[in-house]
């Protein structure tokens, strides 16, 4: 058989062309594979819960208007949209629609000063390193169930003597339960708590309110921490104005694991960093709450500390001030701020004049704020170690957006009047809490061997 070679080559060249073109088209075809679809997530802002007034008056600062809110009241499930950014005092906790900013709850239970806390979305496990169950204690642990079913919660108290048997708590649907801390570990001065949610959507708050007889010693929220870490940043601390209302400070430590921890501490201030006496090399026994005085009275305010441990550890700092009155504030560990506009920290200080302190190896933070008067301002703070920024006037909403790649933590100091002191950790918006997008897929119903 005689083959026409040129024709054969032409045909095979055409075949190669067809195959090549198909390959090119297939590779360049825009498509989303099911695998990609499966891993795509919903960028949502989980709803947050703000504590109730807890016996005093309270208010909530919302980061924006027109948010849906619901009162955690077993008698109603109505949700309504609020046109305001300030919510008045309520004897019920408040469920706030998720948004890019974080609401702040202020509490005036203490006659001496106010307490402030960031509202949160709760979690399976919340740790509170702070509070007291001593005679002066008026502390309340508020466990809020925003779900529509009953929740089961276990509270694990820790004291200076070690852990105590957990207390089981059932919280009815859409209600809260306020537990006296004094009843959890009677007589214990140094306490910490771990609230574990077994079932339900639960958020907990711990208000440390102390009285000595008729004298109100002040109040502060103890912010919740989700997990122990080996490195802890505590920032935005103050020791008051030198001389006049000098503060005393102590560090509360808890090692939740089964091994004692060896810690070292570094103080960051405008004067530089140093290791404080008594905290430079310290062994912390496990599962025991340890309070260690923090000798920083001569340290210029504000400042921050870094605690490094060979075991996961919790830590917080209690600052007590007294000048014509008493107040104290708990500063809890900080988490690095996320960079990027979409996840910038945003909060409404409701006309306060906060002092912000940022910690990091290389700090560069862009701030945008709105004064209570409506005027707007921007600033970029930068530096190394510790950098602070004091609000030039009463401000409402502020967004905090780290610029660099280095991790930056931040805290806010709120002073109101002579002695009123509050600490707030600066946290990025809750947008990071993405969930996998559920897809309807009939394969779910196909029998398969697990």
């Amino acid at each position: 058989m005689r083959i026409d070679l040129s024709r054969s080559i032409q045909v095979r060249a055409l075949a190669a062309l067809i195959l090549g073109a198909s390959l090119a088209l297939a590779i360049s075809a825009p498509h989303i594979s099911p695998a990609q679809r499966a891993t795509s997530s919903v960028r949502n802002f989980p709803a947050t819960l703000c504590p109730s007034a807890l016996g005093g008056s309270a208010s909530i600062s919302l980061p924006q208007k027109h948010l849906q809110i619901r009162s955690i009241n077993p008698k109603t499930l109505l949700t309504h949209t609020t046109p305001f950014t300030q919510l008045p005092s309520s004897s019920y906790a408040t469920y706030v629609q998720g948004t890019s900013g974080i609401p702040i709850a202020f509490n005036s239970a203490s006659a001496a000063g106010s307490a402030a806390v960031l509202c949160n979305a709760g979690g399976q496990s919340q740790w509170f390193i702070g509070g007291t169950a001593a005679l002066s204690s008026q502390d309340i642990l508020e466990v809020i169930n925003s779900g529509l079913s009953s929740s089961n919660v276990l509270i694990y108290p820790y004291t200076s003597k070690g852990s105590v048997s957990p207390i089981a708590l059932t919280v009815k649907a859409n209600s809260d339960s306020q537990v006296s801390v004094a009843s959890l570990a009677p007589g214990e001065n140094s306490v910490a708590f771990n609230v574990v949610t077994l079932t339900g959507r639960v958020s907990s708050f711990l208000l440390d309110h102390r009285k000595a007889g008729l004298s109100d010693l002040g109040a502060s929220y103890v912010s919740a921490t989700s997990a122990a870490t080996n490195t802890i940043f505590l920032g935005g601390l103050t020791n008051g104005s030198a001389g006049s209302n000098a503060a005393s400070q102590l560090v509360r430590l808890l090692v939740p694991g089964g091994i004692d921890a060896n810690i070292s501490t570094l103080v960051f201030s405008s004067n530089g960093s140093f290791a404080p006496v008594g905290l430079s090399q310290l062994t912390v026994p496990h599962q025991k709450v340890v309070d260690v005085p923090l000798p920083t009275s001569q340290t210029p305010s504000p400042y921050g500390i870094e605690i490094t441990s060979d075991q996961p550890i919790f830590a917080s700092v209690l600052t007590s001030v007294s000048h014509g009155g008493n107040d104290f504030a708990w500063a809890n560990s900080l988490t690095p701020l996320a960079s990027g506009n979409s996840s910038a920290a945003a909060m409404n200080f409701s006309g306060s004049t906060p002092t912000l302190l940022f910690m990091g190896s290389q700090v560069s933070v862009q701030l945008r704020w709105q004064f209570s008067s409506g005027a707007r301002g921007t600033a970029t703070v930068s530096g190394q170690g510790e950098v602070s920024w004091k609000s030039p006037g009463p401000i409402d909403l502020i967004t905090i957006n780290p610029q660099g790649k280095a991790a930056v933590c931040g805290g806010a100091i709120l002073k109101n009047g002579g002695t009123s002191l509050s600490y707030l950790p600066l946290e990025s918006s809750l947008a990071e809490n993405g969930s996998p997008l559920p897809t309807s897929d009939i394969r779910t119903l196909v029998r398969a061997t697990p």
Partner: protein, 1035 residues
């Protein structure tokens, strides 16, 4: 010695009607009788030929009669002209010998019959054995009877040969009037032949009457006559006045019914009537299938003719009653038993089919050598070849026999491979693309016929045509569908090997090379991937698609197609298309293009012919055929095909649960990819074949086709489609299968041509390249075999896998509230869900599944993220009463759901965690005006109940305009609520009936069955009218 028979007087009555063809022989035969006929008289019923002339020339007295008189009337005329002298001695011993003009007795026929009669005084009717006129060994009759369904019963097999088996005398119900010898006195006493039976069945009637009168009839097997059966074989026009439209079959059937109805006992009449009617309908159906509409009409008209003249029946029954001495039951012993009738009927049909196939083959010139009676007739070998070899055959050992049969060994190997690979595939199969196979075919039939499917939130999508195919195919396993699928999964590898190698051989490939081809075909990642992934369509196509090779798909010239071949091909295409919509789409697109080309080519002729004469013109024939190729598969696959036309993406969805295959790279390597498929490094033998083809210059055209197929497969596999309740990339396995099928035979042909030449040529590049190719193929085949054995552990399809939803939910599926369950699965970063109606996802369910409503999607998103406040309320409004998360259940998610509210955890097992959704609606929920809720008892698609007041009825299914609600028989208009659910505002209390109106679905199904019937009838071999059958074949 004087024989007793010598005392008999025999009058032969010869009735002629255009019988000149046979008369000379008949007259000669009568003249040559060894026992002389005493008197011959002939009656000619108006013959147009030379019959009268022939008779007169022979010296026979001829009485001329009207052309349209019946046989009985003609006999009466003859007897009038041949009176018996009552005073004569012969009066008591006169016999009439009725002779047809196409019936020639053997010379001793009369003598033998009279001899038998002489010994049997009670017998008044005798008849000989009837043999064929042309084939004188063909036994036509040896006595006759009638079956209860009216069939003429001879008790003989089809084309039974006379070997003396009937050479004895026996009592019979009657004998044919073709050569009936009847005592004249009895004949007269019985009233002669019934004038209502002008032709056909008059003999049975006379015999029946004789028996009930206490007389007898015998068939004398030793006496023979040769009968041409000119009227029955439609060689002679039936002119009798009773023969409506001159149709012999019509007259025969009518007379058969008449005989039964006038002679049977009165209490037997209903049963006889039913039998007659039923048999007529069945025969008519058979005739229609055999494309003999005229005969079908005869069958029905025969009954009609009797019904319009009932008076005849009454008079005839009355006349018989007067002369009856015995019960009609005396003939029961002559009526054939039902078993014999069925057996002979089946033999008849089988014989017809075999004859038809043999005829077709000879028409096509396929095995024309089969028509030769011996090898010497072929002229290819010497005469001694036909000499039987009487020497003892040398038996080889079994082992040697096996060695000589590589195909047999290969089948054993494939079976073993299949058993090892499918060791986990015993029991009720499910997994991968295969949802649970129902045990019984009736479930699949029910699914196919249903207009509404409770899958997900419900669907009105028509069931895919492949489900009907499997339901019908389960006839093989007596309706046990699960067993059929089990067998299919096990038998496919060896059967595919057998089919492919047989087809390769029929294409000219030698046995050994065909075996190699079978190996390449079966040791294919595509087949084993399809088996492991449960792609039942592709698996079945592995058996079906090679058949297309026999039709030479690239050489189709429709002009040469007979209608039968055309419809057979469209049936095959529809079958393939049902299993692969992708191939159907390609076929239809190709045909549309070719139709357009045909029209374009013939545009001038078409213009000249004009629209009015278009159909009758020759130009239209190829266009019509091409249009048939397009329209018929669509009609055969309706209503599913219409759904494909409405949803174009469904063309790209393979049967079953969507399952993603591999990507571009795997498709390029002829590996379908996906779970359970072979690793890419395992190069498939077929891929090597494609590579070789690309290197062979002579097969460059094939390379082009292959590249187009492979390119198409690659391109398709890169795209994802959302259909059948999920999203997956397009399964292009069928294109790879087509490429596989067309690549192997040409390569084997090449090998067959090249390899023998290597023996004689010098060692060189050719030897090395062929050696390398064979080595590579062998290694590839061996590696594939090893992988296949191990692939059982990766198979997604397994037997008796655990149920997805807990058993109690399944049990609730049939309760009045028909709760639904949303099943959630979290695997890694992927979260998926679907709605279960409680029952298992069964075969075909995925193919009809619709998109889940957006409200549910939003609710599920809120459920997962914990951001929803009313998730349970939304899910509950859709009738979802349970939430089930398959294990492993993420603790955080279950905690979240616990707290969301409206979900009450009711169980947590190793299979998953279950919540009950509080206050969820039932499938059909009625809310009265005062807010009271009640549940209507619900079926899978309907519901009934009684309500006491006005209110609103909500159906927890997706909205469809075909839902109908009747309130006390009055229709209530359907509305859509905010959630997109159908609601009905019931004006007042009363009885409510909710149903789904599937009229359109049923109409389309009817269209399908009609099209299927027509296509099957057209594709089946045609029956022949008797006039078309050569006389030599009949008599």
């Amino acid at each position: 010695m004087v024989e007793l028979s010598d005392n008999f007087f025999v009058t032969a009555v010869l009735v002629t009607h255009d019988g000149a063809t046979w008369l000379p022989q008949v007259i000669a035969a009568l003249s040559a009788q060894t026992r002389r006929i005493d008197r011959i008289i002939s009656v000619d019923t108006g013959s147009h030929d030379a019959s009268v002339k022939l008779l007169r020339a022979a010296g026979i007295v001829v009485v001329e009669a009207e052309r349209n008189i019946g046989y009985g009337d003609a006999i009466e005329i003859a007897l009038e002209h041949a009176p018996t002298d009552p005073t004569s001695d012969t009066a008591a011993a006169e016999w009439i010998w009725l002779i047809h003009d196409d019936c020639a007795p053997a010379s001793d026929a009369l003598e033998i019959m009279l001899g038998e009669l002489a010994e049997r005084p009670q017998v008044v009717i005798a008849g000989p054995k009837l043999l064929g006129w042309y084939d004188r060994d063909h036994l036509l009759e040896a006595g006759i009877s009638i079956a209860i369904n009216g069939s003429r019963w001879t008790g003989l097999e089809q084309r039974e040969q006379d070997q003396g088996q009937q050479n004895f005398t026996r009592e019979v119900l009657s004998v044919s009037t073709a050569a009936m010898l009847v005592r004249r006195s009895a004949f007269v006493e019985l009233g002669g032949l019934d004038p209502n039976l002008a032709l056909f069945r008059d003999d049975v009637d006379l015999g029946w009457r004789a028996h009930v009168a206490g007389l007898g009839a015998i068939c004398v097997g030793r006496a023979t006559v040769f009968h041409a059966e000119a009227s029955a074989s439609e060689r002679r026009v039936v002119d009798v006045s009773e023969a409506f439209l001159h149709r012999p079959l019509l007259l025969d059937r009518r007379n058969a019914a008449y005989v039964l109805l006038v002679n049977s006992s009165w209490w037997m009449l209903p049963w006889v009537s039913l039998q007659l009617l039923g048999t007529s309908l069945l025969r008519a159906l058979y005739d229609l299938v055999a494309k003999l509409p005229g005969y079908a009409g005869d069958e029905i008209a025969a009954i009609g003719l009797l019904l319009i003249h009932p008076r005849e029946l009454f008079i005839a029954r009355s006349a018989r009653r007067k002369k009856r001495l015995l019960s009609p039951g005396v003939v029961k012993r002559f009526i054939p038993p039902r078993g014999s009738q069925i057996r002979l009927g089946l033999d008849h049909v089988t014989s017809l089919l075999l004859d038809s196939v043999a005829r077709d083959r000879s028409d096509d010139g396929w095995q024309s050598e089969l028509q030769s009676s011996s090898f010497t007739e072929l002229g290819t070998i010497d005469d001694e070849f036909d000499t039987p070899d009487l020497s003892a055959p040398i038996r080889a050992s079994i082992f040697k026999n096996f060695i000589r049969r590589p195909d047999f060994l290969a089948i054993v190997f494939m079976s073993l491979l299949s058993l090892l690979a499918g060791r986990n595939r015993f029991g009720q199969l499910s997994g991968g693309a295969l949802s649970l196979v129902p045990t019984h075919a009736r479930d699949l039939f029910h699914f196919y016929l249903s207009a509404w499917h409770p899958v997900g939130m419900g669907s009105s999508n028509p069931a895919p045509a492949w489900t009907l195919i499997f339901a019908l195919a389960s006839i093989i396993t007596l309706g046990h569908l699960a067993l059929l699928v089990n067998i299919l999964f096990f038998i496919t590898p060896p059967l595919a090997f057998y089919i492919f190698s047989r087809i390769a051989r029929s294409l000219g490939v030698t046995k050994n090379f065909a075996t190699v081809g079978g190996f390449i075909y079966v040791l294919n990642p595509l087949l084993w991937g399809a088996l492991n992934q449960g792609r039942i369509g592709t698996v079945t196509l592995f058996l079906l698609l090679p058949v297309v090779l026999l039709i030479k798909p690239f050489d189709w010239q429709t002009g040469s197609f007979t209608s039968r071949r055309l419809f057979a091909l469209t049936l095959l295409i529809a079958l393939i298309g049902a299993l692969s919509p992708l191939l159907l789409a390609i076929w239809l697109l190709g045909q549309v293009v070719m139709l357009a080309l045909e029209i374009f080519r013939s545009r001038v002729e078409l213009k000249e012919v004009g629209l009015r004469n278009l159909i009758e013109s020759e130009v239209f024939a190829p266009i019509g055929r091409r249009a048939t190729f397009i329209a018929t598969p669509l009609l055969l696959l309706s209503p599913w095909s219409f759904d494909l036309l409405l949803h174009p993406t469904h063309w790209l969805a393979a049967p079953g649960v969507p399952l993603s295959g591999g990507g571009v790279a795997s498709t390029l390597l002829f590996n379908p990819g996906g779970a359970g498929s072979s690793p890419l490094w395992l190069i498939a033998p077929v891929f090597l074949c494609v590579t070789y083809i690309a290197l062979i210059r002579a097969l460059s055209s094939l390379t082009l086709i292959l590249s187009a197929l492979l390119g198409g497969a690659i391109l398709l596999s890169a795209f994802h489609v959302s259909a059948h309740g999920s999203t997956s990339n397009v399964w292009s396995g069928e294109l790879l299968l087509v490429a596989t099928i067309i690549v192997i035979p040409p390569l084997l042909q090449q090998a067959k041509d090249v390899i023998p030449t290597l023996r004689t040529s010098k060692f060189g590049v050719a030897h090395i390249s062929v050696g390398a190719a064979v080595t590579a193929l062998s290694i590839s085949a061996l590696a594939m075999s090893v992988w296949i054995v191990g692939s059982a552990n990766n198979s997604q399809v397994r037997g008796n896998q655990p149920s997805v939803v807990p058993a109690f939910v399944g049990a609730l599926a049939d309760t009045p509230s028909r709760p639904k369950t949303v099943v959630l699965s979290v695997v890694g970063n992927s979260t998926s869900y679907f709605i279960s109606s409680g029952s298992e996802l069964s075969m075909g369910d995925a193919d009809v599944a619709d998109k889940i409503p957006n409200q549910i999607q939003d609710a599920m998103t809120q459920l997962i993220t914990g951001s929803g406040l009313a998730t349970s309320k939304v899910l509950g409004s859709f009738g979802i009463q349970y939430l089930f998360i398959k294990a492993p259940t993420p603790v955080s998610l279950s905690t979240l759901i616990d707290g969301i509210g409206g979900f009450v955890r009711i169980s947590s097992t190793a299979n998953g965690t279950m919540w009950k959704i509080l206050h969820a609606n039932s499938r059909v929920e009625f809310v009265s005006a005062n807010g009271a809720r009640s549940t209507l008892t619900s079926g899978s698609s309907d519901a009934v109940g009684t309500v006491s007041s006005a209110g609103q009825l909500t159906l927890a299914q997706v909205f469809d305009s075909n839902w109908r609600l009747l309130d006390n028989g009055k229709s209530v208009p359907e509305e859509k609520n905010a959630s997109g659910l159908p609601v009905f505002t019931v004006p007042g209390g009363g009885s409510l009936v909710l149903s789904y109106d599937g009229t359109i679905h049923r109409a389309l199904l009817s269209l399908q069955f009609l099209a299927l019937l027509v296509a099957i009838v057209m594709a089946l071999p045609s029956g022949r009218r008797k006039v078309e059958v050569p006389l030599e074949e009949l008599v």
